[in-house]
């Protein structure tokens, strides 16, 4: 008992001998989540400031006689004349593996009702991106499990690949499929006890989305068993714009922890259009000069400094980014889309027309590109999908011409036929990622003309049948392919034998 008393006495003696210096100010006005504060003469840009009632804010506008702060939290309790004080700290969020499986808000506080976060470390929300010297080029793949992407628009660890398209074209679905596929690969990798296996942890940042959509995403991830490798940072539409503005940076800080500690992480920003809108709202309330579409002048820097934080570091890990941008009426030349396109290392463009035609994922092969991913693509995929993009581009061109004429030569007909088969082959249902070795095997079948005799309308069914056949009856062959990661003569012969067997059984 005496030790308890001693502890309290020690605490009292520490308290009574300390004088704490704070720089203070008073609230002059509060409106729309932004407080204008008199004083705070020593505040730093982006410094965290303490409002009454445990609300915190960030100093964003340092003017001659007042400071503009965005308030992260409930502003309804704040009044004119309330005291605000500096903290001397930048805004930080908890980081670490304790966040995996959790849903947190923009400040890293749990919102899933599963108790406190098991984390002792924090990282600053705003951080300067890694420089040139420490970076390493992209050479390891991020497998999305989506055949059209893994074969034609490959993504590498450390890459920034934009997912862009109109509303309702399946942008979020691609991101969720990728997360689900990582969870599957992680489970497989951990089970194999391979010492060289590098798991890919994922962070999903929901900005300005409906709560119902976020709940649906969480349910999909939970159903697929992907939550244990995923962190969800939620700043829904009901949150104030300051939280929506800060959420992607919080997610990036959580991802950076994995990267800095020699691990790999993938972060999805869903979506940066709403993020730009939230920032525009804050900037207009702060009375910053507005430019094109009323966005402030630094809206490019808003996204460039965020996406530059994704990298592959020499001797450490990587952070891959999949930002999402929503276009209006397919207009990729709008302000925010062009900004983000120019920042990222490629884009996956989803077309409404393709989506409505039943081509899902509605990836537009012509407008989609991966600038650095090809060096990260697995050899087996390269071997079977190297020419696919060109073939599909030719098919689209020919299909457009074929609409005007009925007389087509045999070669053109064959090209059109093959193109339409490839399009059918790439159709894939949502939340059903395909292992890369199965993808390669199916594409091997396509390249070796196993689908040529099948009616175009039955290609999807045939491909599904082939996948089932391979996963159920040729597991060892798929395992060999996964380990070798390339087709050699013996594998070619074995696949020929296996697909002949499938073809005879499928035709029959």
């Amino acid at each position: 008992m005496s030790t308890v008393i001693e502890q309290i006495e020690k605490q009292i003696s520490q308290l009574s001998s300390r004088a704490v210096k704070k720089n203070t100010g008073t609230i002059r006005s509060v409106a729309d989540g932004v407080a204008r504060v008199d004083g705070l003469s020593e505040v730093m840009y982006n410094e965290m400031v303490q409002f009454p009632g445990n609300a915190i804010g960030i100093a964003l506008n340092l003017e001659e006689d007042e400071v503009g702060c965005v308030v992260l939290g409930d502003v309804s309790a704040l009044r004119e004349g309330d005291e605000v004080s500096t903290t001397g700290r930048l805004l930080s969020v908890p980081v670490g593996k304790g966040l995996l499986g959790r849903v947190v808000d923009a400040l890293g506080r749990p919102v899933d009702g599963k108790g406190p976060i098991d984390s002792t470390e924090t990282y600053p929300v705003e951080k300067i991106a890694p420089g040139i010297i420490v970076r390493k080029s992209v050479s390891q793949p991020v497998l999305t499990g989506i055949m059209a992407i893994d074969s034609m628009i490959p993504i590498g660890r450390g890459q920034r690949e934009l997912i862009i398209g109109d509303r309702g074209t399946g942008k979020t679905t691609i991101a969720i499929d990728t997360i689900i596929n990582q969870a599957r690969i992680n489970r497989q990798g951990f089970a194999s006890k391979d010492p060289g296996f590098r798991p890919l942890y994922t962070i999903y940042v929901a900005v300005g989305q409906k709560n119902s959509n976020i709940a649906r995403t969480i349910a999909s991830l939970e159903a697929a068993g992907a939550m244990e490798y995923t962190i969800i940072v939620a700043a829904p539409a009901a949150d104030n714009p300051a939280n929506q503005y800060i959420a992607p940076y919080s997610g990036a800080a959580m991802g950076e922890w994995f990267m800095e500690n020699g691990m790999d992480a993938l972060i999805v920003y869903d979506d940066l259009s709403k993020h730009a809108v939230a920032y525009r709202q804050i900037s207009l309330i702060l009375k910053r000069p507005s430019g094109r579409e009323a966005y402030p002048g630094d809206v490019f820097y808003l996204h460039s400094r965020l996406l530059e934080r994704s990298a592959r570091l020499a001797g450490k890990g990587s952070l891959t980014a999949l930002p999402i941008i929503e276009t209006l009426a397919g207009d990729v030349s709008a302000y925010i889309p062009t900004n983000v396109i120019s920042i990222t290392d490629g884009q996956i463009y989803l077309e409404t027309d393709l989506f409505n035609q039943g081509v899902r994922p509605a990836v537009s092969v012509g407008l989609s590109v991966s600038r650095v991913g090809s060096s990260a693509q697995l050899k087996m995929t390269k071997q079977v999908a190297g020419k696919l993009k060109g073939e599909l581009a030719q098919f689209r061109e020919l299909a457009a011409f074929a609409q005007f004429g009925s007389d087509l030569d045999a070669r053109t007909k064959a090209q059109l036929d093959r193109g339409s088969r490839i399009v059918e082959l790439f159709k894939q249902p949502a939340f059903n990622p395909i292992p890369v070795e199965v993808q390669a095997a199916v594409l091997w079948g396509m390249q070796n003309n196993y689908f040529d005799s099948i009616d175009v309308k039955r290609i999807v069914e045939a491909a599904n049948n082939l996948k089932e056949f391979l996963t159920a009856r040729k597991t060892s062959l798929l395992d060999t392919l996964r380990q070798k990661a390339a087709f050699d003569e013996s594998l070619n012969a074995e696949f020929k034998k296996a697909l002949d067997e499938w073809k005879s059984s499928y035709s029959a």
Partner: protein
């Protein structure tokens, strides 16, 4: 009413005129007020409010408001004046202000800076 840029500029100019030897001069402030009465600007109330805020902030920078719960002797106040004058490199005068809500200890405010050495303040920081 929102202050125009001209009003803000005028208030700052008047404030600069009110400073003599690095401190706010009562004579000069009286002169400024007389000038404003004779030559009212476009937004007189706004200019006066801005001017009031600038002068108030400047006065606060040279005053140490010493809030205290128990008795504070003149020696302690002189010590505070000397210490802060040294720290800020400008003459600081201490103004005592009894405040029983502090429980014990002192709280010194100089302009925007607050030095918290009271039990109430430390309990508040513990609870947050």
């Amino acid at each position: 009413m929102r202050a125009s840029k001209q009003s803000q500029h005028l208030a700052r100019q008047l404030f600069r005129l009110s400073i003599e030897d690095g401190r706010v001069s009562a004579d000069r402030v009286a002169g400024v007020l007389a000038y404003l009465e004779k030559n009212p600007p476009r937004q007189p109330l706004v200019v006066l409010r801005l001017y009031h805020r600038l002068v108030g902030a400047e006065i606060a920078r040279s005053q140490a408001l010493v809030s205290h719960a128990g008795p504070v002797s003149a020696d302690i106040l002189r010590g505070i004046e000397a210490a802060f004058s040294r720290k800020y490199s400008r003459p600081i005068s201490a103004v005592p202000r009894p405040d029983s809500s502090l429980i014990a200890g002192l709280r010194v405010r100089i302009g925007d800076d607050l030095y918290e050495a009271s039990i109430a303040g430390q309990l508040a920081s513990l609870s947050s």
